[in-house]
């Protein structure tokens, strides 16, 4: 197992280099003045500002030196400076607690609701409940979640006044609940479908008969035998949904004005503050890679068939 983990760790290195290279190249090496690119066509850049950016990214040196410098910076937590000469890392420091709270809450909702509906659909396969869950998940897939978020904000927040419309003044969990629910819609259909398929596959497995022949009750058979096997692929998928979920925070935090990382990136886009967008995106990409790594290692740990080979 240790060898497997080590191999997986080594495989992550070129991916980290590759993704950061793509980001860096897209921003600083494409034709055109990188400073003006970051500012977008509509924003004037003061000479002092341009100078500060050039110095920070060593834009006068050869590309590889720039990239090396940028990588070294990333390793030390330096995600660049923005047009207000604020280090992006300070924005990150202010924003991450909000995002982590939102992401964790979303993730838990996603896991509970997705797995719950998936199991329910599988146990009731071919009946009305199953069709309702499958149909519902297709509908949810079709309606973009940022639309749902607006509708929820207008209906639940503005018209009914049940939840705060925006901001985090009411703290956790009230301010986070509606945004987390909307963001969870992104992953619930997929998790539910995979759980359903996986449970169905194991529901008629022969080891289920063995458990029944032992005299085990329905619940014990379902939880101890069917779910224990079915959830292995689901755990892996749940890890991967964290990636989509992180992209989702940009829209959701933007819409609900939750001052997290996604909100900073959202504001960065609206105000043509390019370095913020790039810096935060880079952090999100690196986090995503780390999560993938953890999920892969976890997968090996929970599936003895891989672990012991």
């Amino acid at each position: 197992m240790a060898r497997h983990i080590l191999r997986r760790l080594l495989m992550t290195i070129p991916v980290v280099l590759g993704t950061t290279l793509i980001i860096f190249a897209a921003v600083y090496a494409l034709p055109g003045d990188p400073v003006q690119t970051l500012a977008g066509p509509d924003r004037a850049v003061t000479p002092a500002m341009a100078e500060a950016l050039r110095a920070h990214y060593r834009l006068d040196e050869p590309f590889l030196v720039q990239y090396g410098h940028y990588l070294a910076g990333l390793a030390q937590g330096d995600f660049g400076i923005d047009f207000n000469e604020t280090p992006v890392s300070s924005l990150i420091a202010a924003g991450w607690p909000v995002t982590v709270r939102l992401a964790l809450m979303t993730w838990v909702i996603q896991a509970l609701v997705g797995v719950g509906l998936g199991v329910l659909a599988a146990v009731r396969a071919g009946r009305a409940t199953d069709f309702a869950i499958l149909g519902g998940s297709t509908l949810i897939l079709a309606v973009p979640y940022f639309i749902t978020a607006y509708v929820a904000q207008i209906v639940l927040g503005d018209r009914l006044g049940w939840f705060p419309v925006s901001g985090i003044d009411e703290g956790w969990p009230r301010s986070y609940l509606v945004p987390a629910l909307c963001l969870a819609l992104l992953g619930v259909p997929e998790v539910a479908r995979l759980t359903r398929a996986s449970v169905l596959e194991n529901l008629h497995a022969e080891f289920v008969d063995t458990a029944v022949a032992k005299g085990a009750g329905r619940l014990r058979v379902l939880v101890g035998h069917v779910l224990r096997n079915s959830l292995i692929p689901v755990v892996s998928m749940l890890g991967l949904t964290l990636g989509t979920l992180m992209s989702g925070t940009i829209l959701i935090e933007g819409i609900f004005n939750l001052p997290g990382l996604g909100y900073q990136a959202f504001q960065g886009i609206q105000q043509h503050n390019g370095p913020v967008v790039v810096g935060i995106s880079t952090l999100l990409v690196l986090t995503f890679l780390l999560i993938n790594l953890i999920v892969d290692v976890l997968y090996v740990v929970i599936d003895p068939r891989i672990r012991l080979d």
Binding site: V15, G18, I22, A26, V27, L38, L141, S247, F266, G274
Partner: protein, 257 residues
């Protein structure tokens, strides 16, 4: 039934009437009126014709970006799957790198640096981040077909590599990719709407549903129709492609249901 699922999305362009750019500011944000079933947008333009015309750019981007990544996937996936070895290694590692991006985030970074935000540039960026998932399926599908007997037979009969690939391997390996492609069109349309809504996607002269949502985002609370109608069209279009994908899957693999 499958045809019915796609029809409204594809053909809604034909039902356009009126000029979407003919606007009267006095009618800004007004609700539905005679001849204007969806009401008016902030500029006082007829929302119905706007939304209907938006179909064209949204669908074009969906088809164009997916078409591009489908083409790349068929070529690279076949090469990686059929030849294996170094070719496969290189293609697979590059895919790994692209899989390292959460979908929307990679697109945001690249689009952020683009000067032009027209249908073509947005489609290219969307394709840049959607080809790997199609390629991966194509690769494993080709891997499975490669070792089948009729391919071995063709090889032993002395058929050229290109002939084997084009005549035997690709036609037999393409079904799973086709299914995923249909689902991918829906995903791309959604992604375009999300990116444009954020402000890094298409910009004004283009007229996708995302552009309309972006332009109206500050007025949703007062004028719900500005949100609902473009969103409705968007969802129906995405749903069509999802259902089409389901149909294709059932058609190719009767086992799955």
């Amino acid at each position: 039934m499958c045809a019915m699922a796609v029809a409204p999305g594809v053909f809604s362009g034909w039902f356009g009437h009126g000029d979407p750019r003919e606007c009267t500011l006095e009618r800004s944000g007004q609700g539905p009126a005679a001849g204007h079933p969806f009401g008016f947008d902030i500029q006082g333009c007829d929302l119905y014709s706007n939304v209907v015309h938006g179909t064209r750019d949204s669908l074009t981007i969906g088809l164009l970006a997916t078409g591009l990544s489908f083409a790349v996937a068929v070529v690279l996936g076949s090469l990686a799957g059929y030849f294996g070895g170094l070719v496969d290694q290189v293609i697979s590692r590059v895919m790994d790198i692209f899989f390292g991006f959460p979908l929307l985030i990679g697109m945001i970074v690249v689009l952020q640096t683009f000067g032009v935000h027209d249908v073509w540039s947005v489609s290219v960026v969307l394709a840049l981040f959607t080809w790997p998932s199609l390629t991966r399926i194509m690769r494993s599908s080709v891997l499975a077909v490669r070792s089948l007997e009729f391919v071995t037979a063709a090889r032993e009969l002395g058929a050229g590599t290109l002939r084997i690939l084009v005549r035997h391997v690709i036609p037999n390996a393409i079904a799973p990719v086709a299914v995923l492609t249909s689902l991918s069109i829906g995903a791309v349309i959604t992604a375009e709407a999300a990116l444009t809504f954020l402000g890094v996607g298409l910009t004004a002269p283009a007229m996708s549903w995302g552009v309309q949502l972006n332009a109206a985002q500050e007025y949703f609370t007062e004028h719900l129709n500005l949100l609902v109608f473009p969103a409705l069209f968007l969802s129906v279009a995405v749903l069509s492609f999802v259902l089409l994908g389901d149909c294709l899957r059932d058609a190719f693999d009767p086992r799955s249901r």
